[in-house]
Amino acid sequence: MIHFVLLISRQGKVRLTKWYSPYSQKERSKVIRELSGIVLNRGPKLCNFVEWRGHRVVYRRYAGLYFCMCIDEADNELEVLDIIHHFVEILDRYFGSVCELDLIFNFHKAYYILDEVLIAGEFQESSKRTIIRLLSTHDSMVEMAKEEATSIGNMIAQVTK
């Protein structure tokens, strides 16, 4: 299974963390610090796998962001590379040419998308179309709820004027 997902910028800033195994808050910061050091210092030509503390970390760099996923020894590393790419492509389709700023200002949406790709550290859906469709349904439900709220608010405002 995937134990955690980590997105860090080239400067070491954390953009997204998702933990599928129990790590306490202290352990989490320690992990982030250690891994940032290791991954950010790897040269460009080296392989995308790092052995760390008995686990394997698969990372891939997209522009200024490193996407890291920590897996067990028994998992297929090449597949995880594809999972990362799957996630990035969905982000790209959703935000339309995603850039790091999108992930900063809409971090909660990035989490929603990740939740459609992975649950419990396991892969969930291989069809990008299905995922995008689901996400837009969610978004339209949120829009509807907002409209209802404002319209009720208007009505009450009218009545209580």
């Binding site: 392989c47 999972i83 689901l134």
Partner: protein
């Protein structure tokens, strides 16, 4: 507008934080926002709860504490609307983890949401449950999740499947409930449901053997069919990645087939064809294809043997290994490690490629390759492999050298065909990377050298040559110094020349030069210098002509600030100057070290028992007297001012080599001199350094020992503890007469058994009330003579004990004679605590060892 509302929108807060130039600015902004959010929480503000939680989550990602927001998550989850629930669940997953008790409060909300009419809300709940539930929650909600495995919407089914995975991992007992629903999932067409269903099936099989049996019988054929359809399916844009339809599904299917086929011939048969098809037809120019091939090879290796398939698999491995892509090579090395158990021959064929990988520029690949090489070593290829590895050692990176050295030493030790090769290789390793070599390793080398008596000359000459070229590696210097000390004469006389050697002329003076430079070297540490000193002592005996020069070198450390060196210097100087007659006997060739016992000693590394002033378990650094040391340890638990033994407590070889790693600071504290053996330990330069006066007294003991040749001879046989006691008991200085001034105290019978009585007489010096001189008298009550009589005593922390040598070591029977021994006890709690002492008496009756122990509690109170 509510004046307390945190008016800033999420976007504005993020912008404000990003605009901060310093950490202090950022902290200020965050603090302000947190205060506003806290106020809003206290006000139970409904309108902005959603926004506040989002802000809180951002702040949490920056690393600030946000536990005050946890209840907000619960409130949001309990809200009726979809957006609130959505952000509430996200907050739950981000701010909490499964170990927090707050999580239990959510169980009810989650349960309701799992039964919600809005399927998207059901999806939210399943997602949160799957990511974060604890074992109790899992147990509570398992029935709901089970039911949802058959929900009408496939998206819910797939989420339920993944949630079930977490449930059975947390509560394996529930696995049986999921078997039937999962069998239905495996027949689905929706890819998402298939993928998750297959994953659930795989985990079920791992957790429950019944499930494994069931699926193996019922579902293997269906799965094979699914895979075949998938492989042969036409282009499907929705699932296509790099020309392959849904590689993720391919890989999950292969994984499940592996689990089902492992250990079962029928199942393995059923899947042979499709595995062959996948292995041959999958394109391997893109990552997706390679991932599938990787999984396929793993499966082929794990299921029951089919010759043709295995050949296919090894071919793929070979291709991967020579691929230029680093990722592929890494993966290939992994596969090869697993393939070794299956077909070692095939893997051996790739040995040269693997060796190339050890030298790769990528650290991950080097590591994998080294481990693989280690697994490949056997008796036939150990020599060329080791040669390659040692050659590489010279050019490898510093951070890799440690690993590499450890592996090389391990290989050499396990597979060395003959001693001379072992010694050669170890010498090369020491020359190249001696600083990375662990202590156990060079200790083992010394053991081997000592056992290879025909190679002594060869070894010492090789070491001498090695030292001429490099003297930077500490371990090399140590081993060389030891060998030159032991076998210096062979070095100079060119004895035992083998025909592979070039002749070399070394004069005695050259040999002494080398050892001298080892001492003078600035980088030499305490161990090396101590070993060098003792080596010089040995050389002074072997090369009498250099004796004077050696004495000058040794004497230079008389004033060393390190107590160990100072002591050695003084003692050895004394031996060289005054005791030439015993010197040669003292430093005779060391007996062959028993490989079995020292090898075993290494394997079971005893815990570090450096004693601090807290009186932790003491391990007597007397490596030779180990059998008797154990009870002595208990005894000495009482007295905790015991100096520290060597820091790697279990390594006797270290002690034997006269190496003591007790830091100098320890000896600063005044030690409670234990029983008389303490002095003897000093003599052999093993172990602790009691106060300075002991070392001065050593020459005296030596001088009186001149009369006791047989006792000295016992030094050569370093095994029997009783012999060492002999040495001590051979000294017969008259016990100091108790001073007869000061108050008189009644004498007591300190110890009495059926065969032995010990009486104590007390006296104190006037003006020194804390110190008592005790004269002990031993009487033999039995009708047998006691020989090799030794008395030892130990006292608690607040007492100091000094034991003088006994008057003799043979106690005639039936009280026809006595042994007297004098003790001096200083009571730092004089007047507050009485004396108490534990004693241990060892002697021989008719050659059989007898041990008596006891505690003396009947000291007069005011001693």
């Amino acid at each position: 507008m509510n004046p307390f509302s945190s008016g800033t929108r999420l976007r504005d807060m993020i912008r404000a934080i990003r605009a901060c130039k310093t950490a202090a600015e950022e902290r200020a902004v965050v603090r302000k926002e947190c205060a506003a959010i806290r106020a809003a929480i206290n006000e139970n503000d409904q309108d902005y709860r959603h926004r506040n939680l989002a802000k809180l989550m951002f702040i949490h990602m920056l690393g600030y504490p946000t536990h005050f927001g946890q209840m907000e998550c619960l409130k949001l989850i309990a809200s009726p609307g979809f957006p609130e629930k959505r952000i509430g669940y996200l907050g739950l997953m981000l701010l909490l983890d499964e170990r927090q008790e707050v999580l239990m409060l959510v169980t009810n909300s989650v349960k309701q949401d799992l039964n919600h009419t809005n399927q998207y809300i059901v999806g939210l709940a399943l997602c949160a449950l799957g990511n974060i539930c604890s074992a109790e929650m899992a147990r509570d909600l398992a029935p709901e999740v089970e039911r949802l495995l058959q929900f009408r919407d496939p998206n819910i089914r797939k989420k339920a499947a993944l949630c079930s995975i977490r449930i059975i991992k947390k509560v394996p007992d529930l696995a049986e409930n999921f078997i039937n629903p999962v069998a239905a999932l495996l027949k689905e067409k929706h890819h998402g449901v298939l993928i998750t269903g297959i994953q659930l099936c795989t985990d079920l099989c791992k957790v429950s053997p019944e499930a494994l049996e069931y699926f193996r019988k019922k579902c293997t054929d269906g799965l094979v069919r699914t895979l075949r359809d998938l492989v042969n399916s036409p282009y499907a844009p929705e699932y296509d990645i790099a020309g392959i339809t849904d590689p993720f599904l391919h890989i999950r299917l292969l994984k499940l087939l592996r689990v089902l086929g492992q250990g079962d011939a029928d199942a393995s048969d059923a899947m042979n064809d499709i595995l062959a098809q996948v292995a041959t037809k999958t394109e391997s120019n893109k990552n997706a294809g390679n991932a599938i091939l990787y999984e396929c090879v793993e499966t082929i290796m794990s299921i029951e043997d089919n010759g043709g398939l295995r050949v296919l698999a090894i071919n793929i491995l070979g291709r991967f290994l020579s691929n230029r892509d680093n990722n592929i090579r890494y993966v290939a090395l992994n596969m090869l490690m697993r393939a070794i158990t299956v077909d070692a021959q095939a893997v051996q064929r790739h040995r040269s490629t693997i060796l190339e990988c050890v030298k790769d520029s990528d650290a991950s690949i080097r590591k994998r390759a080294l481990e693989l090489v280690y697994l490949l070593v056997n008796e036939s290829n150990v020599k060329p492999l080791t040669k390659e590895l040692v050659d590489y050692l010279e050019v490898s990176d510093q951070d890799f050298k440690g690993d590499l050295t450890a592996k090389i030493c391990s290989i050499i030790e396990k597979f060395s065909p003959e001693k001379i090769w072992y010694i050669d290789q170890m010498l090369k390793v020491l020359t190249e990377a001696g600083n990375f070599v662990k202590d156990e390793v060079w200790h083992a080398l010394v053991v081997v050298i000592s056992n290879a008596s025909d190679l002594h000359g060869y070894t010492v000459r090789a070491l001498f040559r090695a030292l001429q070229t490099t003297a930077e590696q500490e371990s090399l210097v140590r081993v060389a110094v030891w060998c030159i000390g032991e076998y210096g004469d062979l070095l100079v006389n060119n004895a035992g020349m083998l025909n592979v050697e070039d002749p070399i002329t070394v004069t005695e003076s050259d040999a002494v030069d080398v050892v001298e430079s080892a001492i003078k070297r600035h980088a030499s540490d305490l161990t090396t210098k101590s070993m060098a000193l003792i080596a010089l002592l040995k050389l002074s005996s072997r090369f009498p002509s250099c004796s004077g020069r050696i004495k000058d070198i040794v004497v230079q450390h008389k004033g060393s600030l390190v107590l160990e060196l100072q002591q050695r210097s003084l003692e050895f100087n004394s031996i060289i100057e005054k005791h030439q007659n015993i010197r040669s006997a003292l430093v005779e060739r060391m007996p062959v070290l028993d490989e079995a016992s020292f090898g075993g000693r290494r394997a079971s590394s005893l815990p570090n028992t450096v004693s601090t002033s807290n009186g932790t378990a003491v391990k007597l650094p007397n490596g030779v007297a180990k059998p008797s040391a154990a009870p002595l340890v208990d005894l000495l638990d009482l007295s905790d001012d015991v100096p520290a033994p060597s820091s790697s407590g279990g390594d006797f070889l270290q002690d034997l080599l006269g190496v003591d790693l007790a830091p100098a600071t320890q000896s600063g504290t005044s030690q409670a001199p234990k029983a008389g053996t303490d002095v003897l330990l000093d003599l052999l330069s093993i172990g602790s350094n009691p106060a300075q006066d002991n070392s001065v007294s050593t020459p005296d003991i030596l001088s009186s020992a001149q009369d006791h040749k047989p006792a000295i001879a016992s030094l050569d046989v370093l095994a029997a503890p009783s012999n060492m006691m002999d040495l001590l008991d051979g000294f017969t200085p008259a016990p100091p007469k108790p001073a007869n001034n000061g108050p008189a105290y009644p004498s007591i019978v300190a110890f009495e058994s059926s065969s032995l009585r010990l009486t104590f007489n007390f006296s104190k010096q006037p003006g020194n009330p804390q110190t008592t001189t005790i004269s002990g008298t031993f009487t033999n009550l039995s009708s047998n003579v006691f020989t090799d009589f030794v008395f030892q005593a130990a006292v608690p922390k607040f007492l100091q004990l000094h034991l003088d040598p006994a008057s003799g070591n043979s106690l005639p029977a039936s009280g026809n004679g006595t042994i007297t021994q004098s003790l001096k006890v200083t009571n730092s709690q004089h007047g507050k605590k009485p004396l108490v002492m534990r004693l241990r008496i060892a002697y021989k009756v008719d050659g059989k060892d007898v041990l008596e122990e006891g505690q003396i509690n009947n000291f007069p109170r005011d001693l």
